[in-house]
């Protein structure tokens, strides 16, 4: 096998594929990536048997072939070469990496046992713009549950029908929902729960494939496939039904206000420095101002306020600082709208100019007033 390609092409492909490799010791070949050339494309495959990737890039092929190699070593060498183009040649189980000024020899690993990336016959699928898909996932990801005690919330719920797609995630303490508009209609009703790991990889991998405009998302046979050009990612989907979360979203609020997003984020992060054991900050609304405060009995207290018109009565809510700031960060936009009722009801956060995303957070059980 012999191929010549640009450094940029191969480095991006390898760094993406590396995250898909497995750490299992039972099948050592999972720790390596597989490179295969056919015609004028080179395909890199990697999998940990939960998720898998098959990414292609164009290259000049002199001889077709296949080999498996440790991605760490290959990436380590390639990222430091200075030339624009690089040649890889396989001779008797050794890979020669040649540029004008550098010569490297790497031992390959046996490729016979390398798993096949499953071919998935999708039953329903839709096309979505890459940037829209990635940014929706990014907004949703913080709310995904990290605990494995309820598997059905350990991922991102994705449903699409007609020209609308909805993303949702919850860890029972907060909930995030994002709606996006699709250019083409979905063929049928699409619905699945994407495992957290896969959702993270969607953000990372698709985030770097800048040349791609739209990707296809499809499910079939309990599996999910995301494909673009000649590349694709596959994963199992989570069994089970996502909670019926629509009823959770509050519609009426006793207290509402809008505030520059940066202003409140700063105040929450400041309060976060002096939180107590519960990591709790208090959001207090007055007539014409809101304030964020925290108390740590051993270290000290802090409070900071911001003048803004507040509709409704005075109220306080105790919140987990991280949940609160995650939500503020996810909302995006210059301003943020916050709606609340009493100290035991959920708060709703959203961008006042954008109804497509909302974030709900439950307070911590109310404490005696500070």
């Amino acid at each position: 096998m012999k191929l010549t390609t640009t450094k940029k092409n191969i480095v991006v492909a390898i760094s993406n594929a590396e995250r898909f490799t497995g750490k299992q010791i039972t099948l050592p070949t999972l720790q390596s990536i597989l490179l295969e050339t056919k015609g004028n494309t080179c395909t890199i495959k990697a999998t940990n048997l939960e998720i898998g990737i098959e990414a292609s890039f164009s290259c000049k092929t002199d001889r077709e072939g296949i080999f498996a190699v440790s991605p760490k070593l290959l990436f380590g060498i390639l990222q430091h070469i200075q030339e624009e183009s690089v040649t890889l040649e396989l001779k008797q189980g050794i890979i020669f990496i040649e540029t004008e000024t550098s010569h490297t020899k790497l031992n390959t690993t046996p490729s016979d046992d390398f798993p096949l990336i499953p071919k998935i016959k999708t039953t329903t699928s839709f096309f979505v713009s890459r940037t829209g898909f990635v940014s929706a996932m990014e907004q949703i990801l913080p709310a995904v549950s990290l605990s494995d005690f309820k598997p059905e919330i350990g991922g991102v719920y994705l449903a699409a029908s007609g020209k609308n797609a909805t993303f949702a995630a919850t860890d029972t303490f907060r909930l995030a929902e994002k709606k996006i508009f699709l250019e083409k209609e979905v063929n049928g009703k699409f619905s699945c729960i994407i495992p957290l790991k896969m959702a993270q990889e969607i953000v990372r991998t698709l985030g770097t494939t800048e040349e791609v405009a739209s990707v296809e998302v499809g499910v079939g046979d309990n599996q999910l496939m995301i494909s673009w050009n000649a590349s694709r990612m596959v994963s199992r989907v989570i069994d089970g039904n996502f909670p019926e979360y629509k009823a959770i979203i509050p519609n009426n609020f006793g207290i509402t206000f809008s505030i520059p997003r940066d202003a409140i984020l700063r105040r929450v992060r400041m309060a976060n420095v002096l939180t107590g054991k519960l990591n709790d900050v208090v959001l207090k609304t007055g007539k014409n101002e809101i304030s964020v405060l925290s108390v740590n009995p051993e270290l000290g207290t802090t409070s900071s306020s911001f003048s803004t018109p507040v509709k409704g009565k005075e109220a306080t809510a105790t919140l987990n600082a991280r949940y609160f700031s995650d939500g503020i960060a996810s909302c995006g936009g210059d301003n943020i709208f916050i709606g609340m009722n009493d100290e035991n009801s959920p708060l709703l956060l959203k961008n006042p100019e954008d109804d497509s995303f909302l974030y709900i957070v439950m307070p911590i059980r109310n404490t005696p007033a500070y």
Binding site: T26, T172, F173, D221, G240, P243, P368
Partner: protein, 460 residues
Amino acid sequence: MDLHELWKTALADIELSVSRPNFITWFKDTRIASFDGGKMVVSVPNGFAKEWLQNKYNKFVVKAVRSLAPEIREIEYAIGDVAPQSAAHDRSIKSAPRRTFEAFPQYLDQLDLKEALVNPTTNLNPRYTFQNFVVGSFNEFAHAAAQSIVKKPGGVYNPLFIYGGVGLGKTHLIQAIGNALIGEQPSAKVRYVSSEKYMGEIVDALKTQEMQQLKERYRNFDLLIVDDIQFIGKTEKMQEEFFHTFNALYERNKQIVISSDRPPAAIPTLEARLRSRFEGGMMADLGEPDFETRLIILKKKLEEKQVHIDDEVLFLIAQNIKNNIRELEGVLNKIVLMSKMANTPVTVDETKKILNQLIYAPKKFATPKKVIKTISDFYEISEKDLVNSSRKKEMVRPRQITMYVLRDDLKCSFPFIGEKLGKKDHTTAIHAYKKIKNELKVNQDLEEELKLIRERIFTS
């Protein structure tokens, strides 16, 4: 040879032909899903294993299986569950509360989105189990009936109608039935629904013209649990739908469990055909817990929270909060929080302070005007008729009840009461008061009615 044995023997054979790492990687968590006339379906944990077995190891598998069962013609691979459903269910129900605490010790007080914890298929909250249901003399009958249903659903206690006041554990008990049944028979189709939600589903189905699907869905349940059925009386369409669903389930000997805040006879707008059906099964009421039970409930809650509080304080709480378990929990939570914040045990005096705030705070001040309005609303007669001097039977009785409430709860004087209600003499008021008071001793329905009236007066 059963399928399990067959696959085990086949695996032993396959193990010899492939390398150890490959065997462990690809054959872990596989099993025979079905075996039907020459065609065998092997369940595999993921798409990678499916692809690999199909393309690389199929001939080993075929050879191994054929030597045991020669009639096999073809083998298919399907991606199935990793663990059998039942085991997964069991685990999530039994160990759920403990594991959450282990995972998030610091979030003990973090409130959660309750709906997200609920199992979306059954709509049951795993928190409600028989294990954490405290049984006392006030609820042992209902509890026993509930338990016998788990043993024999659709048997003699069908439907089970449970009624009782606010915060006495109706929802807990009926959801525990569902959770316990799933624990025993993981394949049972259970559905818990509040009548409000049921109404929403009917409205949605009417909108999207999927009524038929909704009907089919409801008629396939093995156990249908309907909470707060008293609200069903509000709309006729809902009563009709529920009536048909009820009949369909009942005919197939499927269990129905219903809860309400009052007995069927006391739900004013309930149609007769539904009422007679509700009364046809088993009716059990949840009374108010006695002092000892209240104490046990408090202690059990403390155990869950892993906090220690003096018995003296618990005594005080149990003595003061008498008729609502939810309130009991509320006070306990407040006290636990206080002791945590201050890092010192709570004293009896502090508890008294909290109790005082609570006992007197929520009870709203009621005026005679409000009492009259509420009672006339309750009996669906106009306020004018109530304060009039009409002697029609349907006016007289509500008027007497109004007099009783004004005297008993608001401590109004008899002449004032007479004056307010149709310029009557004070002796009329005295007569009414005594009459209702005496009747209360023998008539349980009246007691129920009064309880509801008082609830409306003092909570809304």
